[in-house]
Amino acid sequence: MATLDAPKIVMARADYDDSYTLTRYLETGGYLGLRKALSMFPEAVAGEVDAASLLGRGGAGFPAGRKWSMLRKSPISYLVVNGDESEPATFKDHYLVERDPHQLVEGVIIAAYALQVSQAFIYLRGEFALGLERVQQALNDAYEYGALGNKIFDSDFSLDIVVHPGAGAYICGEETALIEGLEGKRGFPRIKPPFFPAVTGLYGEPTVVNNVETMSNLPWIVMNGGAAFAALGGGRSAGTRLFALAGTVKRPGVYEIEMVKNTFRDLIYDPALGGGITKDRAIKAFIPGGVSAPWFGPDLLDLPLGQDEVAEKGSMLGSGSVVVFDETSCVVRAAWRITKFFSRESCGQCTPCREGSGWIERAMYRIEHGGGRMEDLDLLLDLCDNISPGLAWPPQQTTICVLGPSIPSSVNSAISMFRDEFAQHVNEGGCPFD
């Protein structure tokens, strides 16, 4: 049974229809965290975040507190919030920007205060038309309320936040590509080194980039203390986390649950969470953390939802998206579609990614649609190996950013877990699930 007694940290207002309004936000403790933060020294606020052991919620899972403290030596110029959520089957930030924009805004102000930054940007996915409206409205309200702008709550701290719309590019979720988008350019990731945002970010100046969910945790952490947050979860994975559950489950959705104390089985089968597989079918496999992550089989259902626990088994919690395949789902088709996505979204700078993704996609397509050959399997693995030598996890990188090494995950998983099914496609000249 799932452990569900942890407090709701970022989904506390989920039951209110008007959770996005300033009125509701203020009635439910809104902007108290900011008031408290402003009464503290900036480094004390950063200290609480450090004590909370909050891991970044964007995908890489780097400790947010450490990201900040690494930077405190030199002054930071800009804070940029990454709301370009586009990892397939990830929809937690969508929830946060539409349903609780004030919580995000308050988190950003707190972070800006801790980092002593006077200009912040919230980069939101262009497809979030309603999210953009809600966040801009929240910013307008916050200026009006005195929580933003000149001399916030009569303190000696001023801040301006600009919401920046993206325009449809998965790659802009990568922080250096996002910065290019914010500079008004094509979203080409930058080479690291030297372009680590912390050193050479927006306009070449030191920049902190944090995810929407990471920011949304800050009001609670400041109000309740970093230690209270760190007491939740286990190991390196502190606190609760949003999991976006999708695929063939009865109750797909965004769930905030305690990390480590719950397992994939809890998330997928608990009646209060996923509620089990559609039509009570058997589970075939699942993706533990976004389509960039290698897949797991049913044997790993009892693995705790923790950063290190999942990494030890050769995958990642990534963006917090869990996709379930049941016994009637075709894994060849699934892996083909994921590769098609990467092929479409590759920015085209690096040859292994640009050419490799299309080549793999075409080979997968012909297997799924009846033109496959058995030697295609070795060809596919060889192509994957060319993009990410050794096919290890974490993957080796031959490209500027991590989109490239994310391509092999699904194909390699599908072939190694379900080689028989590939053979069946080839031998029967098409998809047996059609």
Binding site: P88, Q116, L139, G184, G187, I338
Partner: protein
């Protein structure tokens, strides 16, 4: 003469002023130009170039990178049907096929009456209501062929204009406030805070 309507021209200038560098306003300005014309016309691109201190070639080169910017005319309603992994498992491909028949246009093209453009979308981040469909980037949450057809009928009759405006993601995104502190005030603030911090660090040693 500005190509953008007066109100949009004013908003464009306000947007440029929000950023430390003009070029940063590129994506929001392209959204605005598209809001007026439905797609990025030569005139719209030229005006964005003028506003951002760049060239039309540079603007076009940037716009062509982003899926949401249209370098040729599109229908009044952009219908995006997701077929990515979560939607694939819930009938996204079948829905795309149905939409194509229902709207009377192949995927990637515009219907003869100029009302609809159909595109196969990548994940739109609303995977719990799959298959996911957006019209002009508003979630419509029609997951069956029947509800989809009902929506199309409403769109044809102009009954959804209030919640699905024609073109323009930013059409209702209006900024009403802004930082009123001058840059030098902010610089003083930061310098004071930095000095205070140094003093605290000294005392803590």
């Amino acid at each position: 003469m500005s190509h953008l309507r007066n109100d949009l021209r004013q908003r464009a200038e306000e947007l440029v002023a929000l950023y430390p560098r003009k070029r940063s306003a590129m994506l929001p300005l392209l959204h605005l130009a598209q809001e007026q014309d439905g797609w990025l016309t030569n005139e719209g691109i030229a005006e964005v170039a003028e506003l951002t201190d760049t060239t039309p070639a540079d603007v076009r080169g940037t716009a062509s990178f982003y899926e949401m910017f249209h370098l040729e005319p599109v229908g009044k309603y952009m219908v995006s049907v997701c077929t990515n992994i979560a939607c694939l498992l819930q009938g996204g491909e079948e829905m795309l096929e149905h939409a194509s028949t229902s709207l009377g246009c192949p995927v990637g093209s515009t219907s003869d009456d100029g009302l609809f453009t159909l595109e196969e979308a990548e994940c739109l981040a609303d995977c719990n209501i799959a298959p996911c469909i957006q019209v002009n980037h508003r979630y419509v949450r029609t997951t069956t062929p029947e509800t989809f057809d009902a929506l199309v009928a409403e769109l044809r009759d102009g009954k959804r204009d209030h919640d699905i405006p024609a073109h323009g993601t930013l059409i209702r995104v209006r900024r009403s406030g802004g930082l009123r502190a001058s840059k030098s005030d902010v610089a003083t603030e930061r310098a004071d805070a930095k000095a205070a911090r140094a003093k605290r660090d000294e005392e803590n040693k």
